[in-house]
Amino acid sequence: MNKPRIKLPDSAKAGDVIEIKTLISHVMETGQRRDPDGKPIPRSIINAFSAKFAGSEVFKTELHPGISANPYLSFFMRVPGPGEFEFTWIEDSGSRVVEKAKLNVVA
């Protein structure tokens, strides 16, 4: 899996509700398709994503083959104070990508 892209606001205050956008490159192979020889192409998707902030869980999702390739997610958080995000994507194979991003919390 490639390095994901994460978009946070440039800065936020405690109590603000901010939008978090993430995108990761992945084919999200459904398992429904066949190759040119007619053989089924095995399913291979990112089936889970989670976001923690300063160690607390903010958001997580279970994804199925109905989610498009290169899964994009947008969700929100009420800023509890300064801290760092930890985002995790988990693939069917069990491999995972973990990405950290610090939020610029201003007074």
């Binding site: 958001f59 999702t61 199925h64 083959p65 498009s68 997610l73 929100f76 009420r78």
Partner: protein, 153 residues
């Protein structure tokens, strides 16, 4: 006289029952295949009765490419510890696998809104279900026309 009439009625009921039993298995299996999405809804709701129409499903009315259809699910909620949306479920009624995603929120979410992009095999209804912290459910449905279906191959 009366007993003869009863017998006749019993006979008639018996015949109708036998016919119904003979027809039932085929009908039931046809229904299972056609309504996988209903099972997906039931898996979320259990026996709960959802309130109608409080989940906003934003999607294009006509999706030209079923491989990537943007959507936003949202519910008006204060998102406090006591009163928040615990989960948002998205179900596509005519996809090979109707369950598309489950988004689990927390009071830290601040706002019960999520967006992503989905595949739609063909023109169909999409269902959004919200699971609230007090155990209630909200459910909405909207139809999306698809010009070129996704999931194909």
């Amino acid at each position: 006289m009366q007993s003869a009439r009863l017998d006749r009625r019993e006979l008639a009921i018996g015949a109708v029952t036998a016919l119904a039993v003979a027809l039932m298995p085929r009908q039931a299996s046809a229904q299972d295949a056609a309504q996988a999405w209903e099972q997906a809804v039931k898996a979320v709701l259990g026996d709960a009765k959802p309130a109608d129409g409080k989940v906003t499903i934003e999607m294009p009315e006509i999706a030209e490419n079923g491989n990537t259809v943007p959507f936003t699910l949202s519910v008006e909620s204060p998102m406090t510890e006591k009163d928040h949306v615990k989960a948002l479920h998205l179900i596509a009624t005519a996809n090979p696998q109707p369950g598309v995603a489950t988004f689990r929120l927390t009071p830290l979410s601040g706002k019960a809104t999520v967006s992503s992009r989905m595949r739609l095999a063909r023109t169909q209804d999409v269902i959004g279900i919200a699971e609230l912290s007090d155990g209630r459910f909200l459910m909405s449905k909207r139809s999306v026309k698809v010009t070129i279906g996704g999931c194909g191959g």
